[in-house]
């Protein structure tokens, strides 16, 4: 187990490096738009533009720029935002609580709703309940996030006034953003769990357990559900990784300043340092979360041997 983890960690390092390098180069070559123009503002003279490019190191060869960047990264310095001059780590740190809160609440919501939908529709397959829930699931999965968010806001915040329009980190403030962000994924998870449950509920050991007289709820929730968990763990890994990267649309609609907002503004203002720092952060988080997911397979399913 330990060697597995160590090996995975070691492989992650070149992976992260390559990804950051690709983003680094793409930003400076393919993405149109000159950061110096943005930093200089509307009235910058030609001389000041040149001065800015020199200050930001934009006039050096690409590989040299990357080398300098790497040198800073290993010292824990992700550089400074060219727009606000704050350290990039500070910008990430400040946006993190919002993203962590939203990720936690949304993840819990997705798991509870998705598993419930999956178990209920599998158990009562082909009944009116199954069909109703499946139609609702397809609807929610196809609803664009921004539409759902605005509809929820219109109904529950503006008309009924039960929740604030602009979200915050309180339970009331997180409620609508969570529903907006999580419903589509919950529907998707529900379908997956349903498919797996149907499979498992028809298997021999379930039939044997019923024959033995085990209580039905124990058969479904304790025996059957546990065996559908491997794909659920995979999905959970991707979901958490994705959520931690920031939810641009939901954050925009509810005015939450998380990592999604940070990314979209950094891209719009060509704030290279923040974009790179954010990409690096998301990369590392994604790899860590998936590592945890892979390791947890061994706990969920004793047959799995980590190699």
């Amino acid at each position: 187990m330990l060697t597995y983890i160590v090996r995975r960690l070691l492989i992650s390092i070149p992976l992260v490096l390559v990804l950051v390098f690709v983003v680094f180069i793409l930003l400076r070559t393919l993405v149109p738009g000159d950061p110096a123009l943005i930093l200089g503002g509307e009235t910058a003279s030609v001389e000041r533009l040149a001065q800015i490019r020199q200050e930001q190191g934009l006039d050096k060869p690409l590989l040299v720029q990357f080398g300098i960047f790497l040198g800073h990264v290993v010292q824990g310095n992700l550089g400074r935002s060219s727009i606000t001059n704050e350290p990039v780590t500070e910008r990430l740190w400040v946006a993190l609580p919002v993203t962590l809160a939203l990720t936690t609440s949304t993840f819990i919501y997705i798991m509870i709703l998705g598993l419930t939908i999956g178990v209920v529709t599998a158990y009562w397959q082909d009944t009116w309940l199954d069909n109703l829930v499946r139609v609702l699931s397809v609807l929610s999965a196809s609803m664009p996030t921004f539409w759902l968010g605005l509809m929820l806001m219109l109904l529950f915040a503006v008309t009924l006034g039960w929740f604030p329009v602009i979200g915050d980190l309180s339970p009331r403030g997180l409620f609508l953003p969570t529903i907006t962000l999580g419903t589509g994924s919950a529907a998707g998870l529900g379908r997956l769990v349903r498919a797996n449950m149907l499979d498992v509920l028809g298997s021999d050991y379930v039939r044997a357990a019923r024959a033995k007289g085990v209580r039905e709820s124990r058969v479904v929730l304790s025996h059957a559900l546990r065996n559908t968990l491997i794909p659920v763990v995979t999905i959970a890994g991707f979901t958490i990784g994705g959520l931690l990267g920031g939810a641009v649309v939901t954050e925009s609609i509810f005015g939450l300043g998380g990592l999604g907002t940070l990314a979209i503004i950094a891209i719009g203002t060509r704030d290279y340092a923040v974009i790179q720092g954010d990409v690096l952060f998301i990369c590392v988080v994604y790899l860590m979360v998936n590592l945890i997911a892979d390791v947890s397979y061994a706990f969920v399913d004793p047959r799995v041997r980590l190699q």
Partner: protein, 593 residues
């Protein structure tokens, strides 16, 4: 079988609708009647739907006079519900949505004079509310020397920074010296570095500026130079000052997250606001929160529910806002203009007759309808009526080049262009097919489409290419743009030099325009300190621009700010509809904590 007939029916309907759409006759567009040029700044007008129930002490909202001559410096009166005899109640949290790009409160790092500065900083002088002149800020008075190369300011006594250090002539000198330090690039240096040669502080309340030449935009520039605490800047250093800004202004920063929000608290010692305010001292609310929101619907909903008290009103919610009994909508006009720009180095746009011809092909009313649903005024000259130096005579002259497709076609023919077999104008193997780059927002797309169809009527084909603003500007700087759609504005007419002085090609001269007469005229304009004489020089420069047409201005947007009249009072609005908070108070401070 049922399925097949359904399929046939649906396909039939689809084909029919496509045919109907294609066959729709284009509406006959009469030649647009050109309204006379506006005389001067039109002050913001307030519209407010009547309240559903009569509030006990509410005074009726006064709708400000529709036209105000420039000499009237009076601000529009906001609802004056004063709950107590001793003045408005103190306390509460005033929350405002301000989507103006704000990056940092460090003036050495910010790219422009951000209005956010005025929350925490003061300046030597302030613009009057109608932008017709200046009043003292932290200075009480000023005198120019006979040759206009020296200005002596008398500072208001007793002004302190919020860290306790005095705001005196030494501090002002430190500020001006650092802003004009060429090794620290900042937008103030762009203007002042070539002009301000030295500063002197003969005593604690006198500061003397010496200029290299008479410089007309000096006051305009100084109205945007924030005075920061030298002690604080030295303590925190250039890297950390932005997170710990210290000024003399009405509020002090408590916390800020860039591009999300900033929370400020009242500066209890504040006692030196510009004289046009009623409140001579500290602000009334305890806390002032400025929130930035990316989504228009969220912004309006937050205003509707009262979670914020003041916010810009996006165009699509205007009708709703005007009929909302809790809201007052203040309408002002933009200080900038929307325009079509030419790369004047790209043939055939190097020929002014072609540029003029295209101007004749533009029906501004249609473009404004498409882009702003009518909420903009047509403009033909390069300055908005809200800019100092706007000239009615110049605008009238510009309006002679009004929408006329026949004139446009004639001018193209005179220049040797004739319609080719595909209807597109051609000359010597070249066709009039151009790439038109525009910002990616919906309004710009609709306007560009309208312009595209108007130019198609005279045989010019435009290929629309929406681009992110950063990329669009980069193209104009590199010189790869052909025609572009953009917006530009500033309070002082020196904007014309940013736009058209040949030294700014590869920079802010996006049309790459180079004209020796105009360069001379703009230099003269910037050197003339006397406002009346300067206005004449601005007009002269404008006439050259109108004749040469490096750009086709077409609209001045209306600005809309909405506020909860049941929650906030005392708001003061300047001529461009910007809200100012010195007199602002919460009607019920306990409700907004």
């Amino acid at each position: 079988m049922k399925q097949r007939s359904l399929f046939v029916a649906l396909s039939g309907m689809m084909i029919a609708s496509v045919l109907l759409g294609a066959c729709a006759a284009p509406a006959v567009v009469p030649t647009a009647t050109v309204p006379p040029a506006p005389t001067a700044i039109v002050f913001p007008t307030e519209t407010s739907a009547p309240a559903a129930t009569t509030a006990p002490t509410a005074a009726p909202t006064t709708a400000a006079a529709a036209t105000a001559a420039p000499t009237t410096a009076a601000a529009t009166a906001a609802p004056t519900t004063a709950p107590t005899a001793s003045g408005p109640a103190k306390g509460g949290t005033l929350t405002v949505v301000d989507n103006v790009d704000y990056a940092t409160l460090d003036p050495f790092n910010e790219t422009w004079t951000n209005p956010a500065f005025f929350e925490v900083y003061d300046t030597l002088v302030n613009y009057k509310l109608d932008f017709s002149g200046f009043v003292g800020g932290i200075s009480d008075s000023w005198t120019f020397s006979a040759d206009n190369k020296t200005v002596t300011f008398k500072l208001h006594p007793g002004v302190k920074f919020t860290d306790g250090t005095p705001m005196d002539a030494t501090a002002v000198k430190w500020n001006l010296d650092h802003y004009t330090d060429k090794t620290v690039p900042n937008p103030i240096c762009d203007v002042l570095c070539g002009v301000l040669t030295s500063t002197a502080a003969p005593d604690a309340s006198t500061i003397v500026l010496t200029l290299s030449q008479p410089f007309a935009p000096l006051m305009d520039e100084l109205s945007g130079v924030p005075m920061i605490s030298p002690a604080a800047y030295q303590k925190y250093g250039k890297d950390n000052y932005g997170q710990n800004p210290v000024g003399t202004g009405p509020f002090v920063v408590k916390s800020q997250i860039a591009n999300d929000h900033r929370t400020l608290v009242r500066n209890p010692d504040y006692a030196w606001p510009p004289t046009y305010y009623k409140n001579p001292g500290a602000a009334y609310p305890d806390t002032f929160v400025v929130k930035q929101l990316l989504d228009d619907a969220t912004m309006y909903s937050a205003l509707e529910t009262g979670q914020v008290q003041i916010a810009p009103v996006p165009g699509q919610f205007l009708a709703q806002a005007r009929s909302n009994a809790n809201l007052t909508v203040v309408q002002g006009i933009d200080q900038g203009i929307q325009y079509i720009g030419f790369n004047t180095q790209y043939p055939p746009f190097d020929d002014k007759n072609i540029r003029q011809a295209i101007g004749y092909a533009i029906n501004r009313d249609e473009v404004i309808k498409a882009g702003f649903n009518g909420e903009a005024d047509p403009i033909y000259g390069p300055l908005s009526p809200a800019e100092f130096g706007y000239s009615q005579a110049a605008e009238t002259e510009a309006r002679k080049q009004s929408f006329n497709t026949d004139t446009a076609k004639q001018m193209l023919a005179t220049a040797g262009w004739t319609p080719g077999s595909d209807g597109i104008m051609a000359k010597g193997g070249k066709r009039m097919e151009f790439t038109f780059i525009l910002p990616p927002d919906d309004a710009s797309k609709r306007m560009a489409e309208t312009i595209q169809s108007q130019l198609a009527d005279v045989g010019i084909k435009l290929n629309l290419k929406p681009e992110e603003i950063a990329a669009l500007k980069a193209e104009t700087v590199k010189g790869t743009a052909q025609m572009f759609l953009l917006y530009m504005g500033l309070a002082d007419p020196r904007i014309l030099c940013f736009q058209f002085c040949s030294e700014n090609i590869n920079g802010t001269d996006r049309t790459r325009f180079k004209n020796a007469d105009l360069d001379k005229a703009l230099a003269a304009m910037n050197a003339e300190v006397d406002p009346e004489k300067r206005k004449a020089l601005v007009e002269a420069a404008e006439m050259i621009i109108i004749d040469q047409r490096p750009e086709i201005p077409f609209a001045v947007k209306h600005t809309f700010t909405g506020y909860r009249k049941d929650q906030v009072g005392g708001l003061v609005f300047n001529a461009i509809g910007g809200a100012l908070y010195q007199d602002a108070y919460l009607l019920n401070p306990q409700a907004q904590q």
